[in-house]
């Protein structure tokens, strides 16, 4: 039994910093086997500069999303900022971006945290607001300057990037969200304690009981509730902590690789945490044909997954050219050293506050 | 105008770690004969609040040096000195006071150079310039680039610095009393390309005092303050070209026309915080072509200018006034000007505001 959602994507925007740290350099510095990057499916990752943070990246993605959606600040009724790298532990990032973009004061605004799927939840909440008539348009941002303990396995992939979506009614959309399901349990696979600069994880436990179980469960529920089959989908975009997991979960679900590869961006830009799956979706929206159906599954440690079925319509073609494309951002790159990476991301111990 | 500079004194521009604001003020006034009998004190200083955590510096100075006379502190960024002289001249010309002591005093070495640089940057617009990453060398560099694009050779600017150092060698109170060459520029530290450390003023503490009197000196060793004029310019980012120093050009043109002055002959001190600016000014006044010949100027920045004599911000204008007074009535660096007139030019930042003082022997 499916509840008609009557909501969709009106605009999207992405921001990926140009600077790249090669996985090979991480392996060399920290004494990992040189074959490890390939095993992880990672070539290089995007690195934000010193004066960037989740707010500044989220602002850019949101600006593009708003331009594609063709709405004004006066027409946005809610701003949700999904991140696990908030500049402030207490003080919302959503308000800074909203103010800088001229969003009206009469609105909802909040930061959401659920590891990498907070922005996904933002979309779920938006569907409810739009359908309930409490919002005409909402702005959902997923943005992270992902942290990794230097030398840890995560150092290969934890990267910086942002994505934003304007969610609106189906009639205003370039892609409708025809169905969505969220599956959440208490599963401590990856976490970051208060005041800890870097996250910790339970290594192989982050696989089967976490990533795979939750994505497969959410997707299976989606298929059950809608009556859709995996063959009904032209693309499948998954949360992508590395270049391998999405291909593995696709296999588990019986989805062929060719449907996954277009939305697989992590090998070239790293894992942008909250933006991960949703940048993949944006890339697919920029390539898809009207009528294509896209399966999207986010994953957030702790743990949960949102599965969406998105159907693209004619209006998407015009929207694509209204902003920079994901593929252009992936290709606009310049390599930096591990030293520069450390400097950019403040990994070096310094006397600051002078 | 019935106002005359009848004397003064200066302290060597240097890193005076052993002297604070009050000590410098005391030292310079103690050495100044004419300063003993004044009925008003004006203090010109820009950084005491930041450098020394001291408000109301004027009051604290007069208490310290034991002059129980009215006092006021003047601040107008880099052109504070000439602002102070202008007010002193007005006080005596109005008849309200007879002899005004103008003391310029500045401490720039209380904190490391990067902090002094930060303080100095605050002479720009904090909200619209400083926050955006604009510091004084940025404007001087962008202006230099414009001039180079329009045909001025890079070594034209280096020539200025070389000439300033040459002049400073024989000026006792100058900070950098050594020659430099074009070679020095090759390895010079870049501040903001193409501007190097050698294109920038010397940062040192200083104190200078002059006495402005309603009557000239009986022995003839005084100069009359004939004119003091100011022109407000445009913020550098609002100009067609950053190198359009229209306020300074307008003022200097007006004054040289009015008094029929040839800058090649008269005693003149130009505000050379960065080598870009005096070159830009001389070009716009028509004194300099692509040959960049400074040899034609007989008494230009005899002191060594801000570049080599030094630029103790709030005190600089007083140094300049003293130097022109000296070169007209006595000698400076072994030179004595034959001209009747002398000119002092000062700028606030990159010509945000320009001031000119015309002195006559």
């Amino acid at each position: 039994m499916v509840i008609p959602l009557e909501a969709g994507i009106r605009g999207w925007g992405v921001y990926v910093p140009r600077f790249r740290l090669s996985a090979h350099d991480v392996a060399t510095l920290w004494g990992y086997d040189s074959r490890l990057p390939k095993a992880l499916g990672i070539v290089e990752k995007a690195v934000a500069e010193e004066d960037e943070d989740s707010v500044t990246m989220g602002w850019y993605a949101a600006k593009v999303a708003i331009r594609r959606a063709g709405v004004s600040g006066e027409e946005i009724d809610a701003v949700f900022f999904g991140t696990e790298s908030k500049p402030y532990a207490v003080k919302p990032s959503a308000t800074i971006v909203a103010d800088a973009l001229g969003v009206k004061k009469r609105k909802l605004a909040t930061d959401l945290e659920f590891a990498c799927r907070a922005a996904g939840e933002g979309i779920r909440i938006s569907i409810g607001l739009v359908k309930g008539g409490l919002a005409q348009n909402t702005l959902v941002i997923g943005s992270d300057t992902a942290q990794a303990n230097p030398g840890d396995l995560l150092d290969f992939t934890a990267s910086s990037g942002a994505v934003a979506y304007v969610i609106s009614s189906a009639t205003n959309s370039v892609a409708t969200i025809e169905a969505s399901v969220t599956y959440v349990t208490d599963t401590p696979d990856f976490w970051r304690r208060d005041r800890s600069p870097y996250p910790e994880h339970a290594e192989i436990f982050t696989g089967e009981p976490a990533y795979f179980h939750h994505i497969v469960s959410a997707v299976k529920l989606l298929l059950e509730e809608t009556g859709l089959k995996v063959t009904d989908f032209d693309y499948a975009v998954f949360h992508q902590p590395n270049g391998r997991f999405p291909l593995q979960v696709a296999r588990l679900l019986g989805i062929p690789q060719e449907k996954v590869i277009p939305g697989l961006v992590t090998p070239y830009i790293g894992n942008t945490y909250n933006a991960s799956a949703l940048i993949g979706l944006a890339k697919v929206l920029e390539e898809a044909r009207p009528g294509n159906r896209i399966l999207v599954a986010t994953f957030g440690s702790g743990a949960g997954s949102d599965a969406f079925s998105v159907v693209v319509n004619e209006a998407v073609l015009e929207a694509v050219n209204k902003g920079p494309r994901v593929s252009d951002m992936i290709n606009s790159r310049v390599q930096i050293s591990y030293g520069e990476y450390s400097k950019f991301r403040g990994l070096l111990l310094r006397n600051v506050g002078g | 105008m019935r106002a005359h500079i009848i004397g003064g004194s200066v302290v060597k521009v240097d890193r005076h770690f052993e002297l604070g604001y009050r000590d410098l003020a005391y030292k310079v006034t103690k050495d100044c004969l004419e300063c003993s009998d004044v009925d008003y004190v004006i203090v010109s200083s820009v950084l005491p609040e930041l450098s020394a955590h001291q408000l109301d510096l004027g009051t604290h100075i007069v208490q310290w040096i034991g002059k129980k006379v009215p006092v006021a502190r003047v601040e107008s960024g880099e052109s504070s000195g000439l602002a102070a002289v202008e007010l002193a001249a007005s006080l005596v010309a109005s008849g309200a006071y007879k002899r005004v002591m103008v003391v310029g005093v500045e401490k720039v070495t209380e904190y490391p150079t990067y902090t002094a640089n930060y303080f100095y940057s605050l002479t720009l617009d904090y909200e619209y310039e400083v926050l955006r990453g604009v510091s004084p060398p940025v404007y001087a560099a962008l202006a230099m680039k414009e001039l180079i694009k329009s045909g001025v050779r890079r070594d034209c600017f280096s020539n200025w610095a070389i000439r300033m150092h040459e002049n400073a060698v024989s000026v006792p109170h100058a900070m950098l009393k050594f020659k430099i060459t074009h070679e020095s520029f090759k390895d010079a530290q870049v501040l903001s390309d193409p501007l190097t450390l050698y294109d920038s003023f010397a940062f040192g503490d200083g104190a200078a005092a002059i006495v402005v009197s309603s009557t000239p000196d009986r022995n003839g060793s005084s100069v009359e303050i004939v004119l003091s004029k100011t022109e407000v310019g445009l913020p550098a980012y609002a100009r067609d070209n950053v190198s359009d120093l229209t306020a300074s050009t307008k003022l200097l043109k007006e004054v040289t026309n009015r008094f029929e002055l040839d800058l090649r002959k008269v005693a003149v001190e130009l505000h050379d915080s960065y080598t870009t600016y005096p070159i830009a000014i001389l070009r716009s006044l028509g004194y300099m072509d692509d040959r960049c010949d400074l040899d034609e100027f007989e008494f230009l920045n005899t002191s060594g200018g801000l570049k080599a004599r030094g630029h103790p911000i709030g005190a600089t204008g007083i140094y300049q006034a003293y130097e022109v007074f000296k070169v007209l009535t006595d000698s400076l660096g072994g030179k004595r000007a034959l001209s009747e007139y002398g000119l002092v030019h000062s700028m606030s930042g990159p010509d945000n505001l320009s001031r000119v003082l015309v002195l006559k022997r």
């Binding site: 602002w59 600051v352 | 990067y114 955006r132 940025v138 501040l191 501007l195 445009l234």
Partner: protein, 136 residues
């Protein structure tokens, strides 16, 4: 800990920092950057304000090595003059590009970046800088 930067001041100037506001003079027609009550060219108070799209061309720039802080994060800074598409000049920092990559005459766009933060516990101040536009 005591705040080094003023919270009210930064809140007050937010509009000019988050956006590029142009003052257009109703008297002489000239445009000047940033919001101001009076035209700096002709002195008239008959002014209007327009928000710039933030797109422009980098006319010239300089690499700044001048230190104003002991723990400067980003040196050299790239600071330049940008002519916005509205025909008015603005000055700002150029980001997202290595110093040896940047060229004059490139198209740039306004981006929000951190200006400064009252570390370690004070407020973070954001403002506009410029980034070369991605070429497709």
């Amino acid at each position: 800990m005591s705040l080094k930067l003023s919270v009210p001041q930064f809140w007050r100037v937010k509009e000019n920092q988050y956006k590029l506001i142009i003052t257009v003079c109703g008297e002489c027609g000239r445009k000047t950057m940033f919001k101001r009550p009076v035209c700096p060219h002709c002195g008239s108070s008959k002014v209007e304000y327009v928000e710039s799209t933030g797109v422009g061309v980098l006319e010239s720039f300089t690499k700044v090595y001048y230190k104003t802080n002991s723990s400067e994060d980003r040196l050299p800074e790239l600071v330049g003059v940008i002519r916005l598409s509205e025909g008015v000049r603005v000055i700002g920092e150029i980001v997202g590009v290595r110093e040896d990559e940047l060229r004059e005459d490139v198209k740039v766009e306004a981006v929000l970046r951190r200006y400064l933060s009252d570390d370690p516990y004070g407020v973070i101040y954001y403002g506009i800088k410029f980034k070369p536009v991605l070429t497709h």
